[in-house]
C-alpha cells in the first residue's frame, strides 16, 4: 500500500527529500548547532515559515481540493497557539512564583501559589482570578489535547451548522469570516479570560529549560516544525490520493452531482473541515512558541484571507503549491516589510518598499488570479505536460467544473 501510494505520488517523495535537505542545511549552518551562518532569529523565521506552510497545506485541502473557501483557518491556527500558550505562560509563571516564594520563611500553600500566579498573569487586565478556561493550564498533556480539541470541536460545530443548512460558496466564505471576526472581537475583551489585547507573551521560554540557550531551542522547534510539516504533508497526500480524495474533488467541481450519486456530501465536507482545523491548530501550537507572543490581532479575518492568498499564489489543488506559496510569499513579505529591500529612487519620488509592498502584493494577487490561476505551482506543469500528449486544451478553472475547454464547447 505504502509502496504504491508513493509510486502514484512521486511529488511526495520529492517534497520530502527537498524538505530533508533544507532541514539538514539549516541545521548545519545555524548558530545553535553548527557554523553560525544563520542567526537564531532567522532560524525562528524559517521555523515559523514551515508552520505557515503546514497551515497552507490544510487550507489547500479544504479549498483547493474541496472547494470550501474557508476564511477561518487562521482562527483555528491562533486557537492552537492560545492553547499551548496557556500552558507555557502558566508553567513559566509558576516557576518564577515558586522561586520567589521559596525565599519566604514559611512554605507557601497550594492556594497561595495559585493566587500569586493568577496575580502575575492577570494583573495586566485588572484581575487575579483564574477564569474557568484555564482549568487545565497546569497540565501540558491536557493542554496538548486542547490544541487538537478546541479547534476541532469549534470546526465541527460550526461546520455542522453551516453545511447542514447548505450554506455554500461565497456565503460560506462570508460566514467563516464572520466567525473569525466574532472570535477575534471576543478575545479582544479583557474579560475573555485570555488577557484581552495583551495576549499571551513570553512564550519563547520553555518552562524547565532555562539552561538551554535560545539558539538550541530554535533548532528544536525548527525540527519539530519540519517534522509536523512532513507528517501533515504525507497525511494530506494520503487523503487526496485515494477514493476519498476523488470524492472531495467531485464535491469541488459539482456538489449536486456528487450528492445525487449517493455520497453524503455534508459528511465529507465536515470531515475535511474539522481535520484541517486540527492541522491548523497544531501548526499554530508550533508557530507561537517561536513567535513568543500571541494576541487577538493575529486572528483578525485579514490573516485568514492572506492564507488564501498564499495558497492561490502557490497554486491551488496541489499540495506542494500551497507550501511554495506560503514559503515564498511570507519570506518575500518579511524581506520587503522588514526594511531590508533597497528603496527605489525614481528621481521625483523614492519608493519605500515598507509602504509599497502591500500594493505590489495586492496587485500581483489580482494578476495571478486573472492570468495564472494555477499559481507558481503551474510552472511545474510546463515541464510535466511536455511529456504528455495534449488531449484537451486549457481547463476552465476549478469554479467552472471539471469540464475542459473542448468538452465544454461540444
Amino acid at each position: 500500500m505504502s509502496d504504491s501510494f508513493l509510486k502514484r505520488n512521486p511529488s511526495v517523495l520529492i517534497f520530502l527529500a527537498v524538505l530533508a535537505l533544507f532541514v539538514l542545511a539549516v541545521t548545519l549552518l545555524a548558530e545553535g548547532a553548527g557554523a553560525g551562518v544563520i542567526s537564531t532569529s532567522f532560524v525562528k523565521t524559517l521555523g515559523k515559515t514551515l508552520c505557515l506552510a503546514l497551515v497552507a497545506v490544510a487550507m489547500d485541502l479544504v479549498w483547493g481540493y474541496t472547494g470550501i473557501l474557508s476564511l477561518g483557518h487562521f482562527a483555528f491556527f491562533g486557537l492552537g497557539g492560545y492553547m499551548i500558550g496557556m500552558w507555557l505562560m502558566y508553567a513559566r509563571t509558576q516557576a518564577i512564583v515558586m522561586s520567589s516564594l521559596a525565599e519566604a520563611s514559611i512554605p507557601a500553600t497550594e492556594s497561595e501559589i495559585t493566587d500569586a500566579i493568577g496575580n502575575q498573569i492577570f494583573g495586566v487586565v485588572g484581575s487575579s482570578e483564574f477564569p474557568l478556561i484555564w482549568i487545565f493550564a497546569d497540565s501540558l498533556v491536557l493542554q496538548l489535547v486542547l490544541v487538537v480539541a478546541v479547534p476541532g470541536i469549534l470546526a465541527l460545530v460550526f461546520g455542522w451548522l453551516a453545511f447542514r443548512s447548505r450554506v455554500t460558496g461565497v456565503y460560506l466564505s462570508i460566514l467563516t469570516q464572520a466567525m473569525t471576526l466574532g472570535l477575534a472581537l471576543y478575545l479582544f475583551q479583557n474579560d475573555s479570560g485570555l488577557r484581552g489585547n495583551n495576549g499571551l507573551s513570553g512564550l519563547q521560554n520553555l518552562p524547565g529549560m532555562d539552561h538551554v540557550p535560545q539558539a538550541t531551542l530554535s533548532i528544536w522547534f525548527f525540527w519539530a516544525s519540519a517534522a509536523a510539516l512532513a507528517l501533515g504533508y504525507l497525511f494530506a497526500a494520503w487523503i487526496v490520493s485515494g477514493k476519498f480524495g476523488s470524492v472531495l474533488r467531485g464535491i469541488r467541481d459539482n456538489e449536486a452531482r456528487v450528492r445525487f450519486l449517493g455520497y453524503s456530501v455534508e459528511g465529507y465536507k465536515l470531515f475535511i473541515f474539522t481535520v484541517t482545523a486540527i492541522i491548523a491548530g497544531i501548526a499554530g501550537a508550533l508557530y507561537y512558541p517561536q513567535a513568543g507572543i500571541i494576541n487577538p490581532a493575529e486572528i483578525a479575518p485579514v490573516a485568514s484571507i492572506y492564507l488564501a492568498v498564499w495558497v492561490a499564489i502557490g497554486g491551488r489543488g496541489r499540495l506542494y503549491g500551497a507550501v511554495i506559496g506560503a514559503v515564498f510569499v511570507s519570506l518575500v513579505s518579511s524581506w520587503f516589510t522588514g526594511g531590508q529591500a533597497p528603496d527605489v529612487n525614481l528621481g521625483f519620488y523614492t519608493l519605500k518598499w515598507v509602504d509599497w509592498w502591500l500594493i505590489v502584493l495586492g496587485l500581483s494577487f489580482v494578476l495571478v488570479t486573472l492570468f495564472a490561476p494555477r499559481g507558481i505551482g503551474g510552472l511545474v506543469d510546463l515541464w510535466s505536460e511536455r511529456r504528455r500528449p495534449d488531449r484537451h486544451g486549457a481547463d476552465l478553472g476549478p469554479g467552472a467544473g471539471a469540464l475542459r475547454e473542448k468538452e465544454a464547447s461540444k
Partner: protein
C-alpha cells in the same frame, strides 16, 4: 447686639438732627459710618481670618441690608480689603506704584488718601473663606440688573446648593423680570426646598410636586435623601432612627462575610484572623525550625498551619481564631438594618415614591432612546450595505473592496473640505464628487478585473481582496495613518434633546433621512428606469437579455458603477461621524455582507430588514451589557450564524426560478 447698636446710632442721629437741624448732613458724615462700625464690630473675627469662625462676620455684612455690603464682600473676596494699622479702620485698597496703596472709604466711596504698605494690613481670605463669601454674594447677584450675572448666580447655586441660599433665592423670584430666568429660579428653589428646607411638610409637598420630572437634577437631589447606610445593632434598634429595611445576613444584599465585617468595623465583634495574619504570626514565632511544634517544611497546607497556630494560641502567643460557631453567634446576636441618613420618615417615603415614579418614566424614555439609537445604527448599516445590495445582491458579484469604496468616498469629502472651507458648500459638493470618483473606480474595476471572473465567484472574492489591500495601503501612503477630520457643517452639530433621557444628534437624523432617500432612489432606479429594467433582465437571464438587444456588458458595468458610487456617498455620510482612516471601510465590510446575507440576497427590502434586525439586536445586547460593545458584536455574529440555520436564504428569500442557486 448689632441691632441695638444700630438703634443707638439712629437715636443719636435723630437727637443730633433735632438739636442742630441745619448742620445735620455735615454731622452725619462726621459720625462713624454704618458699614465701618459694622466692620469694627466684627474686626477681631475678620482679622483672625479663620474658616471656622468667620461665618458670623460674613453673615453680619451680607445681612446688614446696607447698600455697601456687596462692595465690601467683593473687595474682601479679591483680597482688596485693608486695615489701617493706626486706627484699625477697614478700607478698600487700590495698589499704586512704589508699594503704596490708595484707600477708599466703603460708606462714602471717597478717597481717604495714599498710604505706604507698612502702615496697612491686608486681609487675605483663604480659599474656604472665599467660597463662603461667594455664597454670600450670590444673593446680591440674584437681583443684579444684568441677566448674565443672574444666570451666573443660578449656576453657582446649582454647583454648590446650600441651605443659606434658599431664602434669598425665593425672595428674588417675585421681582424677576425675565420669564426664562424666573422659571429656572423657581425650579432651583424647588430643588433647594427638597434638599434643605427646614419645613418638613413643605419639603414633602415639593417632592410630590416634582415626582414626574425626568430631569437629572431632580434625581440628583432626591437620591441623597434615600441614601442608606447598613448598620448593625446589638439588641433592639434605637428609637428615632429612620429604618429603610431590616436585612438578614446571608441575604442577597448582605453576605455573611460582609455582615461580620460590619460588626468588626463597629467594634461589636472581634476581628477574624486572616490567612495572611496566620502566616505572619507563624513566621514571627519560628523556634528552632518549628512553629508550635510543627516543622516548617510541613507548613505548606492550611490544615498544618491551623494546627501550628492553635498551638501558639494555647501558649498565649497569638490571639485566638474566631470559629465559625462564634461568627454565627455574633451574627444572630445582632440586628442588621439599612438606615436612612435623612431622619424624617415622611420625606424618605415621599422621595422613594417620587423616585419610583421617575424610574418608570426613565425606563419608558430609555426604551424610546434605545429605539432611536437602534434605528440610527440600522440606517448606518443600511447605508454601508446598500451599494453591496446592488453589486452582491443583484449582480451576485462579491466585492471585498466595497469597504474601500466607502473609504474613498470619505477621503473625497475630506479633500473637498481642504479646498472649500465652507462646510455646507463642501458637503453639498462632496456628495456628487464622491459618487463620481467611486463610480469611476467601480467601472474601472469591473472592466479590468471582475468581468473576467463572472463564473468564478470565489476568485472574484480573492481578486477584489487584492484590490482592497492595495487601495488601503495606497490611502495610507497618501493620507498617512492618523485619522483625518471630516467636519459636519454647523447646522448638523448638536442634538435634538427631548428631555434628559431621550436625545438624538442631528447627524444621526440626517443619516436616517439619507438612508430613506437611498432606499427611494434605489427603488426608483430598479423599477422605473431603463437601467433598472435591463439590470433585472440581465440578472435573471443574461443570454436571453442579450438576444433581446440588451448589451449585458454595458449593463453590468453601469450597475457595478452605480453600486460603487452609492458606497462613495455612504462614505461621506459615515465619515461625518466616524474617524476617516484607511481602515474605515474594513470596519464595515463584514457587517455589510452580514446585512445583505441576513436580509436575503437580491431584495432591497431584505437588506432593509437585515439592517434593522442587526441594528436593533446589537443595541439590545449593548443595553444588556453596556460596558462592552465588543461583546455586543460577538453576540451579534453568533446570532447571525444561528439565524442562517433557520433561514439560510435570509429574511426575505426569493422564490421560484429567480432564486437560482
Amino acid at each position: 447686639m448689632r441691632i441695638s447698636l444700630l438703634a443707638g446710632l439712629m437715636v443719636l442721629l435723630t437727637s443730633l438732627a433735632a438739636l442742630a437741624q441745619q448742620a445735620s448732613a455735615q454731622m452725619a458724615l462726621d459720625e462713624p459710618a454704618p458699614m465701618q462700625s459694622l466692620l469694627q464690630e466684627q474686626s477681631a473675627v475678620i482679622l483672625k481670618s479663620s474658616r471656622k469662625t468667620i461665618a458670623p462676620a460674613i453673615a453680619a455684612i451680607a445681612g446688614s441690608e446696607l447698600p455697601q455690603a456687596q462692595a465690601v464682600l467683593q473687595a474682601w473676596q479679591v483680597k482688596a480689603l485693608w486695615m489701617r494699622k493706626s486706627d484699625g479702620l477697614f478700607f478698600r485698597g487700590e495698589k499704586l506704584e512704589s508699594k503704596s496703596y490708595r484707600l477708599f472709604d466703603f460708606d462714602s466711596g471717597e478717597v481717604i488718601g495714599e498710604f505706604p504698605k507698612s502702615d496697612l494690613k491686608q486681609i487675605k481670605p483663604n480659599s474656604g473663606i472665599r467660597a463662603m463669601i461667594a455664597t454670600a454674594l450670590v444673593q446680591f447677584q440674584l437681583s443684579d440688573p444684568d441677566p448674565v450675572r443672574r444666570q451666573e448666580a443660578l449656576l453657582a447655586i446649582e454647583r454648590a446648593p446650600a441651605a443659606a441660599l434658599l431664602a434669598p433665592l425665593r425672595a428674588s423670584i417675585e421681582t424677576e423680570p425675565d420669564a426664562g430666568i424666573k422659571a429656572r429660579k423657581t425650579r432651583i428653589a424647588q430643588l433647594l426646598t427638597i434638599a434643605h428646607d427646614a419645613d418638613e411638610a413643605r419639603r414633602v409637598e415639593t417632592i410630590n410636586a416634582m415626582s414626574g420630572d425626568l430631569g437629572l437634577d431632580v434625581r440628583a437631589t432626591l437620591n441623597p435623601l434615600v441614601a442608606t447606610q447598613l448598620q448593625a445593632f446589638g439588641g433592639a434598634v434605637p428609637e428615632g432612627l429612620n429604618i429603610a429595611r431590616a436585612v438578614m445576613p446571608g441575604d442577597d444584599a448582605l453576605s455573611r462575610d460582609a455582615a461580620y465585617g460590619l460588626l468588626v468595623g463597629a467594634k461589636l465583634a472581634p476581628p477574624l484572623v486572616s490567612k495572611d495574619e496566620i502566616r505572619t504570626t507563624l513566621a514571627a514565632h519560628i523556634d528552632g525550625g518549628k512553629v508550635g511544634g510543627v516543622p516548617i517544611a510541613q507548613l505548606n497546607t492550611d490544615e498544618a498551619r491551623a494546627r501550628a497556630y492553635a498551638a501558639l494560641v494555647a501558649a498565649e502567643m497569638a490571639p485566638a481564631q474566631i470559629t465559625e460557631a462564634e461568627v454565627t453567634q455574633s451574627l444572630n446576636d445582632h440586628i442588621f438594618a439599612e438606615v436612612y441618613h435623612e431622619p424624617s420618615q415622611a420625606i424618605t417615603t415621599a422621595a422613594e415614591a417620587a423616585l419610583t415614579s421617575i424610574d418608570t418614566q426613565v425606563v419608558i424614555g430609555q426604551t424610546v432612546d434605545l429605539t432611536l439609537d437602534a434605528l440610527s445604527l440600522a440606517s448606518i448599516y443600511f447605508l454601508a450595505a446598500i451599494g453591496l445590495a446592488i453589486t452582491f445582491g443583484v449582480m451576485g458579484v462579491i466585492n471585498m473592496a466595497h469597504g474601500e469604496f466607502i473609504m474613498m468616498g470619505a477621503y473625497t469629502g475630506y479633500v473637498v473640505q481642504q479646498v472649500i472651507p465652507n462646510h455646507t458648500v463642501s458637503l453639498l459638493l462632496a456628495v456628487p464628487l464622491a459618487f463620481a470618483v467611486t463610480f469611476a473606480a467601480g467601472v474601472a474595476m469591473e472592466r479590468l478585473v471582475i468581468r473576467w471572473l463572472y463564473n468564478r465567484p470565489l476568485e472574484t472574492l480573492l481578486a477584489t481582496f487584492g484590490i482592497s489591500i492595495a487601495l488601503q495601503q495606497l490611502a495610507k501612503n497618501i493620507f498617512g495613518t492618523q485619522a483625518r477630520p471630516l467636519t459636519a457643517p454647523g447646522w448638523l452639530d448638536g442634538a435634538w434633546i427631548i428631555n434628559d433621557v431621550v436625545s438624538i444628534s442631528y447627524i444621526r437624523i440626517a443619516i436616517f433621512m439619507l438612508a430613506l432617500i437611498f432606499l427611494g432612489v434605489f427603488l426608483f432606479i430598479m423599477r422605473r428606469t431603463r437601467l433598472g429594467l435591463e439590470t433585472r433582465a440581465v440578472t435573471q437571464n443574461r443570454a436571453m437579455a442579450g438576444s433581446m438587444g440588451i448589451n449585458p456588458e454595458r449593463v453590468n458595468m453601469l450597475t457595478f458603477g452605480l453600486g460603487s458610487g452609492i458606497a462613495g456617498i455612504a462614505g461621506v455620510a459615515i465619515g461625518l461621524f466616524a474617524k476617516v482612516t484607511s481602515e474605515l471601510g474594513s470596519d464595515y465590510i463584514v457587517q455589510s455582507f452580514m446585512t445583505v446575507v441576513v436580509g436575503g440576497v437580491g431584495n432591497i427590502w431584505g437588506t432593509l430588514a437585515g439592517a434593522t434586525m442587526i441594528g436593533f439586536f446589537q443595541k439590545g445586547v449593548e443595553w444588556l451589557n453596556p460596558s462592552n460593545t465588543l461583546a455586543a458584536q460577538t453576540y451579534m455574529i453568533l446570532f447571525i450564524i444561528v439565524f442562517i440555520q433557520f433561514r439560510p436564504r435570509g429574511i426575505i428569500a426569493l422564490k421560484g426560478r429567480a432564486a437560482g442557486d
